[in-house]
Amino acid sequence: MVNKMVDIIPEITKKSITNLINNGERADNRALDEYRDITLETGVITKAEGSARVKIGNTQIMIGAKSQIAEPFPDTPKNGVLMTNSELLPMASPTFEPGPPDERSVELSRVVDRCLREGGVIDLEKLCIIPGEKVWMIFLDIHVLDYDGNLMDAAALGCLAAIMDTKIPEATVRDGEIVIDKEKLIELPIKEKALLCTFAKIGNELVLDPSLEEERVMGARITVGVIEDGSVCAMQKGGEEPLTKEEIMKAIKITKEKTDILRKHLN
């Protein structure tokens, strides 16, 4: 089951959405730089070390964090490892098929991973147990349950919330052996709160948090990741149409404002 389904958009739908946006309006009455309603819950999976369920409009994603002790990568022997995975579950959309991750899923997990990693969200050095031998490996699994547009922002917000919710057992070294105290749980060493904002270019405008309908007609997409001081830590363009420098700078400016608001959901 890996066949790709063709998504055919009626020309009239495309025109009506584009005309609305060119007039500064959207089909769901939002402003061009307005998110849909966001809800965020954490601690939803008891067996996961950390978890979150995030909803942006009707898009719904669950994220679970699991930990494992593993060998570090040879080039970073003193660092723990963060692994981000995503699954576009076939339950989430009629266009998602079971099977190995397709390019959409790979892009999603890689962009979110980039935001978390380059944003320095976790102090990976503190996840080292024995340098060069044993470190903590944190798995983040992004489970897309319902797809109604803008998976990236939802996944990044959910991952950050899941990381903040995560508690791992304390690992100490005694006589060269690792002792894991499952009774003593410690929080992950968090340094930064990096988040993503995604815009769709439709007509002459950039719209924040595109709905599924808007994603289907967009010419291009730009996702920007920023950390708390406003510096950019990740970026990804998608879609077949170009963007101008002005548009990209505008996206960064709006991202700085909007991520400050998004971060309030984390407390």
């Binding site: 066949n3 999976i45 349950l145 319902d146």
Partner: protein, 239 residues
């Protein structure tokens, strides 16, 4: 309704590790219509299990060679989230989930008027978000509600429940611990209106008396869960 009277032995007083009586189900909660995109969906919590089911269809079966010219096919995908268990499960299908997917489709299909939809497929996606023993039964129970929510014409709503043997006692609805350490596990799915069984599996060791007792317990458990399934639909759509 049949009331089972157990004779002689002291099961009535036997307390299980989690404090339940031998014929007591774990707390159960079902909600219908929880997803936006799917044609039908349901969310179920059963003890520590959390299961989400989405149904798409009946829709065109785009793989021609698998189409049935005179009826629809029920396809099921049972999948466990990597974070649903203590040690992270590697994403993707393994032998266990492939088998459960197959028997789940076969458990659900008998209830559906398949002949109404030739060359179609009804796709059932079962996502185990958290597992605590008895996920296949939880999946089937939730899938029926999701299929009803999708408006698929059915003879009955299939419901599933397991019984088994733990600490030498035949008990209803094994918890994760009882499943792992217990002596037998007997998952059963049934169409409650007629009592026809659409799934039965067993592993472990049971004498024939114990087996019959376990089966009766499981069927009785199914009846109770069936009421909760109906309540979920009534809550969603009114009486």
């Amino acid at each position: 309704m049949i009331i089972i009277i157990t004779l002689g032995k002291k099961e009535g007083s036997v307390k299980r590790a989690d404090g339940r009586a031998f014929d007591e189900l774990r707390p159960i909660k079902i909600e219908a219509g929880v997803l936006e995109r799917a044609d039908g969906s349901a969310y179920l919590e059963f003890g520590g299990n959390k299961v989400l089911v989405a149904v798409y269809g009946p829709r065109e079966f785009h793989i021609r060679r698998f189409q049935k010219p005179d009826q629809a096919v029920v396809r099921c995908r049972y999948n466990m989230a990597p974070f649903s268990v203590d040690d992270r499960k590697r994403p993707g299908p393994d032998r266990r989930s492939v088998e459960i997917s197959k028997i789940t489709s076969e458990a659900l299909a008998p209830a559906v008027f398949l002949e109404k939809y030739p060359r179609s497929t009804i796709d059932v996606f079962i996502e185990v978000l958290e597992a605590e023993g008895g996920t296949r039964c939880a999946g089937i129970t939730a899938a029926s509600v999701a299929m009803a929510d999708a408006g698929i014409p059915m003879r009955d709503m299939v419901v599933a429940c397991a019984a088994g043997k733990a600490d030498d006692n035949v008990v209803l609805d094994l918890s994760e611990k009882e499943d792992k350490e217990g002596q037998a596990d007997l998952p059963v799915a049934v169409m409650p209106r007629t009592g026809e069984i659409t799934l039965i599996q067993m592993d472990g060791n049971l004498s024939s008396e114990e087996f019959e007792k376990a089966l009766d317990l499981a069927l009785e458990g199914c009846k109770k869960i069936s009421e909760i399934q109906k309540d979920a639909l009534k809550t969603r759509y009114g009486e």
